[in-house]
């Protein structure tokens, strides 16, 4: 039995004549302990897919199974890092994280919870901003709070919707390592949505492209056969890395072109220009 399973999932927004089928025939299997990355074009339905998995949305047809049981609601077992941070603006950084921690560990003592909050805020280097409200933070800082909040709940599966998009290369690298560390420490399962192919290759076991919508469906998967722990500086010289990367980018360019010629609509390509890992 797979850890997470999506079988023939369709998702349609709206009803009647103004309904659009965003996702169609999604089939995805993730094993326990795996790290899977999904890359896709903007507006293709990545967030929709994430919400189907975390239980905020229900599929129009098909089934989403988590540990063999249908997902009908959200659960603390599946932690989510939202794309738009979704911090509560009236709470400080510490309070935002505390709220999550308190829900995840209702029986713990207050001092333990507080310590946990401090640890995770420190992990994302936000201790100086502990008592600030989201409005006073930069986009990247907010994203880090969202990361801290999700990870502090200690979820079995970490679902990340473009969690590091607004960060500079250095912070991004650090957080990638933190997430990998937490993932590998207790052998968690992770699903990462990203538009950065390099990030996917550095972090994931498999990369699956999501074709542009509407009726987006998953493309063929690319296995990343690079040993862990991976070394960013050495990655550039790894022949396997280059081969995989080129294959994925070629595929994405292809489906991007295909879309253009079919519908003549412009689709914005994700940022897939080569990026130096050494910041």
């Amino acid at each position: 039995m797979a850890y997470l399973e999506l079988n023939n999932v369709y998702k349609t927004y709206g009803e009647g004549t103004d309904s659009t089928e965003v996702l169609s025939n999604i089939n995805l299997t993730i094993e326990e302990g795996e790290f899977v990355a999904i890359v896709g074009f903007t507006g293709s339905g990545k967030t929709t897919l994430v919400n189907l998995i975390n239980g905020l949305l229900k599929p129009t047809s098909g089934e989403v199974l988590f540990k063999g049981k249908p997902v009908i609601d959200t659960s603390h077992e599946r932690g989510v890092i939202f794309q738009n941070y979704s911090l509560l603006p009236w709470l400080t950084v510490g309070q935002n994280v505390y709220m999550a921690v308190k829900e995840a560990f209702p029986k713990e003592k207050k001092s333990v919870l507080n310590q946990r909050v401090r640890d995770y805020v420190d992990m994302v280097n936000l201790t100086p901003a502990f008592n600030k409200r989201p409005k006073e933070l930069s986009g990247g800082m907010r994203q880090r709070v969202a990361v801290a909040r999700a990870l502090a709940m200690d979820p079995e599966m970490i679902i990340m919707d473009e969690p590091l998009g607004a960060l500079d290369a250095l912070t991004r690298g650090n957080l990638q390592d933190e997430i990998l560390h937490i993932w590998s420490k207790d052998k968690r399962t992770a699903l990462l949505i990203t538009n950065d192919v390099d990030e996917g290759i550095y972090m994931a076991d498999r990369i699956i492209p999501l074709k542009p919508g509407p009726n987006a469906t998953l493309g063929p998967e690319f296995k990343i056969a690079i040993d862990r722990p991976r070394d960013k500086t050495a990655l550039n010289d790894n022949p396997n890395y280059k081969k995989t990367r080129n294959a994925i980018i070629a595929y994405l360019m292809d489906i991007g072109e295909e879309r253009k010629s079919v519908s003549a609509t412009e689709y914005v390509l994700p940022e897939i220009a080569p990026k130096s890992f050494v910041a």
Partner: protein, 366 residues
Amino acid sequence: MEQEIILKKDRQPFSFVKPLVAKLTPKFNRGDLLGSLKKTGITVISILLFIGLWHWGAKALYDVEADYKIEKALTERGAEAAAAERACIASGDSSCQPNTLPSPSQVWASLQSLIADHKIIKADKAAFVEKMAATNAKLTAKGKDPIVYTGRASFIDIVFTSIRTVFAGFLLALLIAVPIGIIIGLSAPLRSAFNWFIQVFKPVSPVVWYLLVFMIVKTLYIGDSTDNAFVISFISVGLCAMWATLVNTAMGVSSVDKDYINVAKVLKLGTFQKVFKVILPSSLPLIFTGLRITLSVAWMVLIAIELLAQSQGLGLFVWEEFQNGANDSNSKIIVAMFVIGIIGFLLDRFMLTVQNMVSFNKNEAV
């Protein structure tokens, strides 16, 4: 990029002078000072212009009225009476003054006399209390009600009665509208059930509210001789003014950002937690916007309601002065008008401050 800019700056000659100058100049810089001076200047000039225009207008009206009086005396009673009338008006005698829009100086004089009157009444009251102290002590010892001062209320007392009425009404509106707003905001069926009710009662005029409250309170107070004017007026004010808060609260609660609801769901907050930790905080700015409107509406309808309810407040004061028709009645009415306007303005400022305090998104409140 930033590095570059800093380097360029440092290459400027005498760059070390800058920090020194910065230290020596006081906190506000010249631009700010000039700006605020300009702003105050404009306000002062506009006030002076207003007073000037008012003075000029009042004088024109005065002349029209005076000419009419003299003309009338001439046609009705002959040239001699007209001359006498003219002399009487010119002498400033109160018996024959034209009755029209008072000039700024007359209004100012009325304000002074109202304040002087307040001092007299206050002294009167103190004397009365002192005089009755012994009698009242005996009365209370016997278990009877003490004798209280029932003389004329001074202008200041009247203003405070009005403020008390508005605050009581506002509090009533808050206690009714916020909880109901929250409940119907949370439930879509209740919202549609209440919708007709709100739509029908929201536009009802203060006068009708007063009559409605009067019918009910009168019956409730049957056989009770105490003055219920205050009760009737504050309830009417509250009912009249609560709608903005009710509608805003319901709207705030029902339209919480989807993202926050998603957070509540992912964290699996219980219903209670969800309402008090997510929904209410996020709708507080809207609730306070509603409360601010409620307070200003309360203050606005107060005058009409006090007038009807015969409650010793500004509304009744204005009405009585108008009926009275004494020489300085008109200027007293204008004094009351300014007092009403200024207190309304202050109340609104106060609410704006509170609203900004609770608003997590500072630039939202306008």
